[in-house]
Amino acid sequence: MTEKYLAQPDLDFIAQVRGLGGETLKKCYQCATCSVACPIAPEDSPFPRKEMIAASWGLKDKLICSGDIWLCHECGDCSDLCPRGAAPGDVLSAIRFVAITEYARPKALANAVNDPKKLPFLLGIPAIWFAIFAFITMNAGETMTKIFEFIPFFDWAHVHEGGHVIAQANFFSTWFVDLTFVPIFTAAVIIFVLNLKNFLNDIHENAVLEGKTDKTSLDFKAMLQALIKVIPTILKHDKFNECESNKDRSTPHMMVLFSFIGLFIVTAIFFLVLYLFQTPGPYSQLNPVKWLANISGVALVIGSGMMIKNRLDKKDDQITLYKDWFILVLVFSLGATGLLTEMARLAHMAYVSYFFYYLHLIAIFNLFAFLPFSKMAHFVYRTAAMTYAEYSNRT
């Protein structure tokens, strides 16, 4: 017999899940049609039946520590077949979001990211920040050049020689870009690492408690091997493709994922090129890295555009809330402003290009700074949960 579990229903949690699209959490009568319908639920203690009763009981402690909620890809097969009109897919999605905010530190930031009323601040702060530095770049070039003369190896101006090229660095110094984003990105990574440690411990403990694992301790080396096994599954969207109801969501999701990977590679290469070889942009359109950048940018816009369109078309099927719109619009804006910046530059419209670049920077800021707190965090938690499932032979 397993250990005694003290049920402590949390009425606030129930209200929270309802507010995040899990309105139907109390409709379940435990027939388990959902668990049978789910194409990706494991055979042993399958989800989402048990998650539904736990949710209707408001058992927050049990749910946000559950790895299973992350194995769900919200394909919606369960919601389609539910005889009581409950939508387990949406309930799990809401619970996942509660889990993201629950693991996020600092809490205040997490709450701000998910509060539509705070949106003006989320956009305003980077807007002011970048405006100040754009002003410095454009008006205090000489002063900065002088300051940089004291630093060996580095030049202030990461600008091509010759005056006719439009370079964003003329508008906003690459130094300021990187001095902004490198710390933010690092902070996000640190937050993720800390969260992940808690997260993995929690889902392991929960799996042991509920008998969902054959492991008694966490072996990080074996976990790493599991991660290597899981990565192709994620890249190929194997799990996602097992779904029936929302099959059309798989392709745009894949496009967005690959474009992020592409853009990450491009950014990393150009970062190295800039600082190691002192070769500033803009780079030639013939450069293969630039090809990758353009393809990724286009894929990002199309992928996220399709996602937005799907959401708009199927309003009734899948609940779309602020948390979803925030990330979708952000990703779309990221791609769109990037491409527009480049197009305006190639069209020799310097100030138009600078304007889009400014917007682009705000979008990047939002993406990086709020990564651990927004829905985007799912890429970390789901990967981790899938890795743990692989590690603990939960298939």
């Binding site: 397993t2 579990y5 049920a7 009425l11 109390k26 435990q30 736990a54 209707s56 009981w57």
Partner: protein
């Protein structure tokens, strides 16, 4: 009645094609009875043909040899005539085809080797039909000496009030007897009742006050509060009722039969009849005999029993694990009383009870039964009371741990709405322990939807006690009947006032007493009120049937009743004792008294009587016995290898329809069995077995309804009594060197028709293995 006989044979529906009509017509012809054949007897022309013979005074007792008596009964109805339906279609030509039993060739006839079993069966059936019309008479309706159409309602709760209103609205005078000082019953003390209208989400105030004021507006409803029924004597249509104040002792208090332990002396020997009677008189000293009618009693036609229920007491070892002795563990009844007073607070310290666990089943993990006397109502009460908790406290939490959550009909909406409430938590599970933990309670459950081992902290625990029918504790109806004042065989019905739960709602074991509400089964207010309508209608039906000398139920319209040939009565009292409905009383000598309007006409008394002095106008020992004797039993004088001959007594309630279905489905079985339908196997008299065996028949089988836990007997005890009689006859058979196996008793449900051919064939084969009856041909 000067009988003029006639036989009509229909040749339609395959009868004429299968049977040799000339030979068939010879059967009545040999008896000198006019026989007419018609190709389509149930057609207008066919019926007119019979009617013309009746009008011409050629016939008034006829055997109509066509289809089963269960079809076309409305077509073959001729007033003032004795009618026997000979079942040639479902009973002969449909189950037995010429493919299986080929027609005899000319040279095979009379060769003492070949015989035609289908033709033999048809001829036997015609002979049996002809003898029956000679032996039975047309019934004369029985009229009571006095007659009342008033309805007495026992119980002034919701059910009683609703029944009284329903009866009063159609013009009947009603008296409500309520032992407390006001109307309303349990519902008057409730905080709320379950939703009764769309959208079935909101509780409502109990309906009690509406009913009370409606009752006041009816002049034909007489309300007697602080009153009890001392006794109800007589029979439907003329019940003489004596009222008294609660607790009062009066001469017309009903006498009780001696308890069994008082029927034996100190050595454990049975008392003699005289001693027992003396002891009985001593036991009931100061009380008038049941046959003594109260001159001041009031006359009623029928009674609605709406005496209701009491909350179950949950105590002792059986419920110790639920902490029933802890102050904050209460029953649903106690919880309702707390709720009626105001906000839900704990009995121990008056603290707000914001976390309440409702326990629906006590079984640990050993079985999943609910508490005794529970039903869907207990599930719904838990939902209702959970709503109290949520209504009283916005942060309140109500947990319902159930093995069964039953919300029939539209109450499903109530369940759904409660499920939607954020503070209601439900799971199936087995509660293993309730224990005090600090200032609160700890409830543990296993096998829940949330996992193996669940713990919940609670301020208060509510256990779902059942609604015990008052008939479990007390006779309630206080009938001045020889069998005793209450329902005698109540253990069959779990102490509820009932007689056949599935088929006959409202009918109790006493004709003229119709139960409604929680005395019949645990039910909600809404259900009780609907039930009250049913019982009121039954009471009216009873009064109107009794007034015309007809049976109410289940042989509705039957005008026969038991008649006694008293010269031969030995006063053995077997009929009085065995009547499942307490219809018979006996005087101090033991002579039975019929009370025809109490009777359900099952014939159990006729089957019981060792002197065979009880009969009905159209159903007698002789009428059946003569049918048995009319069956041809071929012997070695007739054929080299004569077919064995079997007799089946088949209960006409379920088993006979099942046999008809066998015919309709053209399923074959041994054609060597002759079936005689009986009113109930309870009416089966062992003399018929002797008749059959003495005549050389090889085996007798009794086919009746199920009894015991899964009982389906329409007369409660009939098939059980028949089985006992068959067991007893076994000894008699062996003393005659006959094997016990020649007489069998089987039970069959109406939907088990497909098993019937096998049951019959198995019996036939078993007897065939024993060989022919050694008395054959004597």
């Amino acid at each position: 009645m000067d009988k003029k006989y006639g036989v009509y044979i229909c040749t339609g529906c395959g009868i004429g094609d299968t049977l040799d009509m000339e030979d068939l017509v010879d059967v009545p012809d040999e008896e000198g009875i006019n026989c007419t054949t018609h190709p389509f007897l149930c057609s207008k022309e066919g019926v007119e043909l019979i009617q013309k013979d009746i009008d011409d005074e050629k016939v008034n007792a006829m055997a109509i040899c066509a289809c089963s008596r269960r079809v076309n009964f409305d077509v073959f109805t001729f007033d003032g005539c004795i009618i026997e339906r000979v079942n040639l279609r479902e009973g002969v030509v449909w189950p037995h085809s010429r493919e299986t039993y080929p027609r005899l060739e000319e040279d095979q006839k009379d060769d003492e080797e070949h015989f035609d079993p289908i033709q033999m069966k048809a001829e036997d059936y015609i002979k049996m039909g002809m003898i029956r019309i000679q032996k039975v008479n047309l019934p004369e309706p029985y009229k009571t000496e006095s007659f009342s159409k008033k309805i007495l309602v026992l119980g002034g709760g919701v059910t009683g009030m609703a029944a009284a209103l329903d009866a009063a609205k159609v013009g009947y005078d009603v008296t409500i007897v309520e032992k407390t000082d006001k109307l309303g019953g349990y519902a008057a003390n409730m905080r709320s009742q379950m939703p009764v209208a769309e959208p079935f989400e909101e509780l409502r105030a109990p309906v009690v006050n509406d009913l009370i004021s409606e009752i006041e507006s009816f002049s034909n409803i007489d309300v007697k509060t602080s009153t009890e029924v001392a006794r109800i004597a007589g029979q439907p249509g003329e019940f003489t009722v004596t009222f008294k104040k609660p607790g009062e002792k009066i001469p017309f208090d009903v006498p009780f039969p001696l308890p069994e332990e008082m029927l034996v002396d100190e050595d454990g020997k049975d008392l003699t009849v005289e001693d027992a009677h003396a002891k009985y008189l001593e036991f009931n000293k100061g009380r008038e005999d049941i046959l003594q009618l109260d001159p001041d009693g009031e006359l009623y036609g029928a009674v609605v029993l709406a005496a209701g229920w009491r909350p179950a007491v949950l105590e002792g070892e059986e419920y110790a694990h639920l902490g029933v002795d802890l102050p904050d563990v209460v029953t649903n009844d106690e919880f309702e009383k707390i709720a009626a007073k105001g906000k839900i607070v704990r009995p121990s310290d008056g603290k707000e009870a914001k976390s309440v666990v409702f326990i629906q089943s006590p079984g640990k993990d050993e079985d999943d039964a609910d508490f005794e006397y529970c039903g869907s109502v207990t599930s719904m009460v838990a939902l209702k009371q959970a709503k109290y908790v949520r209504g009283d406290y916005s942060d309140g939490k109500a947990y319902i741990l159930y093995q069964h959550m039953r919300t029939p009909g539209l109450q499903e909406y109530f369940y759904k709405s409660m499920q939607q409430d954020d503070g209601i938590f439900m799971t199936k599970g087995a509660v293993t322990e309730v224990a005090q933990q600090g200032n609160g309670l700890a409830v543990t459950a296993t096998n829940t939807l949330l996992g193996e081992n669940l713990a919940i902290k609670a301020d208060m625990v509510v256990v779902a006690g059942g609604m015990v029918p008052v008939t479990a504790d007390d006779p309630v109806i206080n009938l001045a009947y020889r069998q005793g004042p209450g329902f005698r065989d109540n253990d069959i019905f779990g102490q509820y006032a009932d007689s056949n739960y599935i088929c006959f709602p409202y009918e109790t074991q006493r004709t003229g007493i119709y139960a409604a509400g929680a005395v019949r089964r645990a039910m909600t207010i809404e259900e009780s009120m609907e039930d009250a309508t049913g019982a009121a209608l039954k009471a009216i039906q009873c009064i109107e049937s009794a007034n015309r000398g007809m049976a109410v139920h289940p042989r509705s319209g039957d005008m026969t009743y038991p008649e006694f040939f008293f010269q031969r009565c030995t006063q053995c009292k077997r009929c009085t004792v065995e009547c499942p409905f307490g219809a018979l009383d006996d005087d101090e000598k033991g002579t039975p008294m019929a009370n025809p309007t109490r009777c359900r006409r099952c014939g159990t008394c006729m089957g019981a009587c060792p002197e065979r002095i009880i009969s009905f106008a159209d159903y007698t020992i002789d009428s059946i016995g003569s049918q048995v004797k009319a069956i041809g039993v071929p012997s070695e004088d007739d054929y080299d290898e004569p077919p064995l001959r079997f007799l089946a007594f088949i209960c006409e309630n379920d088993a006979f329809p099942a046999l008809d279905m066998v015919g309709m489905n053209k399923m074959d079985y041994s054609p060597n069995v002759r079936f005689i339908p009986v009113r109930c196997l309870g009416s089966f008299n062992v003399i018929w077995i002797k008749d059959a065996l003495a005549q050389g028949m090889d085996g007798v089988i009794l086919i009746g309804c199920k009894h015991g836990d899964d009982y389906q007997c329409h007369f409660m005890k009939g098939s059980e009594l028949a089985e006992t009689r068959v067991k007893k006859i076994g000894d008699a058979l062996s003393s005659l060197a006959l094997e016990e196996e020649r007489v069998a008793f089987v039970e069959v449900a109406i939907d088990e028709y497909d098993k019937l051919p096998e049951i019959i064939n198995t019996f036939v084969e078993e007897v065939e293995d024993l060989g022919p009856n050694p008395f054959k041909g004597f």
